[in-house]
């Protein structure tokens, strides 16, 4: 009986995996800056939020995504609310894709993700530079978008595996 309880608890923790990963990623950033790679950066929370909002929208609550955006702004030093807006817009785009999709395809999701991060990053760039007068490195953002786009397909494979493993037949 005790063994079954332990297994159930472990399963519950695994079901909260996306939430834990989101909190850790906004607080930690996974930036790999110690590798000193000049043009390497990617936005892991974008991939995580887009994937889980698309495939299993209940896994990440909108309220939690909003809060994690606020924390991300505090950690990175951006004007508060900027990341929350970006994250919520990504949720909106993925909800739209979910509504119009009859037959899901990984490639379509991937390209729509590329379009989404282009629109969201452009909007964020405009808000930060025009409204808050903060100077930004345009090329760094472009490289960040490119790597985020490229890494999506890798992480979506991993997340799909996790989705099937933990949620099994319940997942869409």
């Amino acid at each position: 009986m005790g063994e079954i309880n332990k297994l159930n608890n472990f399963r519950k923790i695994l079901e909260k995996g996306p939430i834990i990963l989101l909190i850790v990623s906004v607080l930690n950033e996974f930036d790999f800056n110690y590798l000193n790679l000049k043009y390497f950066s990617f936005n892991f929370p974008f991939i995580l939020i887009y994937f889980w909002s698309l495939k299993r929208s209940g896994s990440l609550g909108y309220g939690l995504i909003f809060l994690s955006g606020l924390f991300n702004d505090i950690v990175t030093g951006l004007p508060i609310g900027v990341s929350s807006l970006a994250y919520l817009l990504i949720c909106g785009f993925s909800a739209y894709l979910r509504n119009i999709t009859l037959r899901p395809s990984a490639i379509k999701d991937w390209f729509f993700f590329g379009f989404t991060i282009l629109v969201v990053n452009s909007l964020i760039y405009l808000i930060i530079s025009l409204i808050f007068n903060v100077e930004l490195n345009y090329y760094s953002i472009l490289v960040n978008i490119l790597f985020t786009f490229l890494f999506y397909i890798i992480f979506s494979g991993l997340f799909n595996y996790y989705l099937k493993l933990i949620f099994g037949a319940q997942s869409v």
Binding site: I23, V24, L27, N28, E29, F30, D31, N33, Y34, L35, N36, K38, S41, N43, S57, G58, G61, Y62, G63, F66, G69, L70, F71, I74, V75, T76, G77, L78, P79, I80, G81, V82, S84, L85, L88, L89, C91, G92, F93, A95, Y96, R98, N99, I100, I127, I128, I131, F132, V134, E135, L136, N137, S140, I141, V143, N144
Partner: protein
């Protein structure tokens, strides 16, 4: 045509306005709230200040804890890298030590002479007060280059204080909370400080680039700047004292840009000195 437009509107409405199952808030309500926060941030309204202070206190401490595994990997990576380069580094350091020792004999005389000359022109003598801080968060965001240190207003930290790594300037304090503060590094795009280039005593402005180096800007005497010239703070504006070393000049032959390679490696900061230079009349 009409039908496809209707489908688009229905899908958009359903995505943004409809509160989904298992969601406590609707997306559009949260986006509206975010816009309110952004507007309040733009106009520096009081409630946002309180929200920021509380979030900072939670976020900085949590970030430090959450970053422990990554920091462990980072330290192991750097230690391994250093281990392999130790022999070569030792040879170079021995040569440098010989050169520095010979320079050192002259420096004591120069310091004394400098003190005498300063008192002659009745310049304010700077009395630095120094606080050592530990780097809590060192994130290379694609947007900003900054670090968080575990010293705040309770330790006497104030906005604008200079932050140094050993004896090299690395940035200044731009945000202070009760227990922590944010340092804007010299490499950030928004960092601009007045500098002196030696030799030739050329006054200029050092701007950050968002990368690992800085750029010399707004100087008419670009041709007089020599490769390997040393960049010091000029003391103009009264924020920093003059003569704090920052980096070395490298003139890019391809595009004639004057690049400053910082003496300090901003990606490996663990402890920093936060210094206040307050003038005191002689």
């Amino acid at each position: 045509m009409q039908a496809s437009r209707d489908d688009f509107v229905i899908a958009i409405r359903s995505a943004f306005l409809k509160k989904e199952n298992k969601q406590k808030f609707s997306l559009v309500a949260l986006i509206f709230l975010t816009f309110l926060i952004l507007v309040s941030e733009k106009f520096n309204l009081k409630p946002i200040d309180y929200l920021k202070i509380s979030l900072r206190e939670i976020a900085y401490r949590s970030t430090f804890i959450v970053s422990i595994p990554e920091n462990f990997i980072k330290k192991s990576y750097i230690a391994t890298k250093n281990h392999f380069s130790v022999y070569e580094e030792n040879k170079i350091l021995k040569e440098r030590l010989d050169i520095e020792l010979s320079k050192n004999y002259n420096s004591e005389y120069i310091i004394e002479e400098n003190k005498r000359l300063r008192s002659a022109i009745e310049e304010l003598e700077s009395i630095p007060s120094e606080i050592v801080g530990k780097v809590l968060v060192d994130k290379k965001s694609p947007f900003l280059r900054s670090i968080i240190v575990n010293r705040g207003s309770r330790d006497g930290i104030e906005l604008g204080m200079a932050v140094m790594d050993k004896s090299y300037l690395i940035g200044k304090i731009v945000e202070v909370t009760f227990t922590t503060s944010r340092v804007l590094l010299l490499s950030d795009l928004n960092s601009k400080i007045p500098v002196d280039l030696m030799p030739n005593n050329i006054q200029s402005i050092l701007s950050g680039t968002g990368e690992h180096h800085g750029l010399i800007q707004y100087t008419r005497q670009q041709s007089l700047i020599e490769n390997d010239a040393i960049v010091f703070t000029s003391g103009a504006g009264g924020l920093f004292k003059s003569g704090i070393p920052i980096g070395k000049i490298y003139k890019d032959p391809l595009n004639s840009r004057v690049i400053v390679n910082f003496f300090s490696d901003f990606s490996q900061l663990r402890f920093v000195k936060i210094v206040s230079f307050k003038g005191k009349p002689e």
